[in-house]
Symmetry: C2
Subunit: 148 residues, 2 copies
């Protein structure tokens, strides 16, 4: 897809958007964790070893936040990306050194019945690392306006 601004009438189920990349490092993982998810497996290599993660891992919410940054830059919806919510899963944690990118596909478009100027677009966004492992799958519903 080109980077032109998109409105509801520009989108079709099956459209795919591929984001740029974000390189994750240990310092970012620890900084985010200290502020929002201060658990040993997100803060300290040694403490993380004996946990379910078996090594330092990024908070799932950090992966989600980076995913949003990559989405904002790769899915150029005219009114911005405004989500009502969605279903999020983290099949694998992000690790220091991972290079993240997000591949998003439009799965459904539902024009609003009550508000003719907008609709709801279902998006399936997969956050992958450089090995193509899926780290996060987010099936979201976003509000998209028709062209003004």
């Amino acid at each position: 897809m080109t980077a032109k601004t998109l409105y509801l009438e520009d989108l079709t189920a099956g459209d795919v958007f591929v984001s740029g990349t974000h390189e994750l490092d240990e310092a970012q993982i620890k900084t985010f964790a200290m502020q929002f998810d201060p658990q040993p497996f997100h803060l300290d290599h040694d403490a993380a070893r004996g946990t379910m993660f078996a090594g330092l891992a990024a908070s799932g919410w950090h992966t989600a936040a980076i995913t949003m940054k990559l989405l904002v830059a790769s899915v150029p919806i005219g009114n911005g990306i405004i989500g009502a919510g969605g279903e999020i899963t983290w099949p694998k944690p992000a690790r220091p050194g991972d290079i993240l990118r997000v591949v998003s596909e439009v799965t459904e478009i539902t024009p609003s019945r009550s508000k003719p100027d907008r609709g709801v677009v279902s998006l399936r966004s997969e956050t992958r690392n450089q090995h193509d492992d899926a780290l996060q799958i987010f099936k979201s519903k976003i509000f998209v306006m028709r062209r003004p």
Copy 2:
């Protein structure tokens, strides 16, 4: 609930955990948005006025991250809070000046069939502001170990 460390056998459907509070301000909203969700309605009062948010609003991922911070301090699971994922909705955005707290309820406990040392606990966490508006509802599944 007391703050003792909890394992799978300590939890019962219906258990409720109430977190402490987090006071959100404009600077926090903008700092998070600049890093992870740089859209006008999360960055600038004037630009936000004409959008679907009708005023400066926190990124939903910021609300999610603060929710995690409050959960970590209020749901004392022995092995930490490790989520497989869940369903997230944002009925209303968080605003500057909102005082957030999280009320979590255990809704289901499913011992693992293949791994007898653990189970999956379903948690419904509602993030509310000082007016008791629900800003985020997160229905999650977390991995909880039995007492070692």
